[in-house]
């Protein structure tokens, strides 16, 4: 399908890139469908583009690149909502708040995006424990990117 996007203008979005967010994400509850688009020239980041609203597009990244010992338990609500059956169903991404200069960019590790790759369903899961912050510095990614 052809869609307007925030960063790439109007593009063709293939079906396999589309994810269903049954409850949207916090603050954007009406956005139920997103496409996960690769960012050409930088494989560390992807764009999570709402299919409904052109201007709703997040930069996301693999949080395990930034905090190697990042661990948390999936809560039962998420397991049921996304119909997760096994660990292999799950992909995790973090929402970045990209700042200028880039070195001040943060990643939200307290509310990871959880994807069920088999069902193509996803949600932003909020962790009750405060081990990880919502504005954790994403410095590691800069090192990785330039290294």
């Amino acid at each position: 399908m052809r869609k307007q996007t925030k960063f790439f203008g109007e593009i063709e979005i293939e079906e396999h890139l589309v994810w269903n967010f049954p409850k949207g994400i916090p603050g954007f509850e009406e956005e139920k469908e997103f496409a996960l688009l690769p960012l050409e020239g930088n494989e560390l980041f992807s764009i999570l583009q709402s299919l409904k609203t052109k201007n709703v597009a997040f930069i996301v990244s693999n949080p395990f690149n930034m905090v190697s010992d990042y661990t948390f338990d999936l809560d039962e609500a998420t397991i049921q909502a996304l119909e997760i059956e096994k660990e292999g169903d799950v992909m995790v991404l973090g929402v970045l708040t990209v700042r200028d200069p880039f070195e001040q960019t943060t990643i939200n590790l307290q509310a990871p995006l959880i994807f069920n790759v088999r069902k193509k369903k996803a949600k932003q899961m909020i962790l009750n424990d405060e081990k990880y912050g919502i504005r954790q510095p994403a410095i590691m990614s800069v090192d990785a990117k330039e290294g």
Binding site: G41, N42, F58, A77, A81, V98, R99, I126, N128, I134
Partner: protein, 73 residues
């Protein structure tokens, strides 16, 4: 809003399978125990608000930064 007064160890039932219990009252802090089906999401209200705010903040970026991001690599 329904407002109920409760004392220590007293409970509130919501429907058949949700029970709230006042487990501690200390100064201005009340600790509440919650028994509920596991499929229910239970979160501190202000946490949800701050996640929403962080998401909104994350949207607030321009294409210039994105261009930099792709150029550098």
């Amino acid at each position: 809003m329904l407002v109920l007064s409760r004392k220590l160890n007293e409970t509130i039932m919501i429907g058949d399978d949700i029970e709230l219990k006042i487990v501690e009252v200390k100064g201005d802090t009340v600790r509440i125990g919650i028994e509920a089906p596991k499929a229910l999401e239970i979160l501190r209200g202000e946490l949800v608000t701050s996640i929403s705010a962080t998401n909104t903040e994350a949207l607030n970026l321009n294409s210039d930064i994105l261009a930099k991001l792709t150029k550098k690599s």
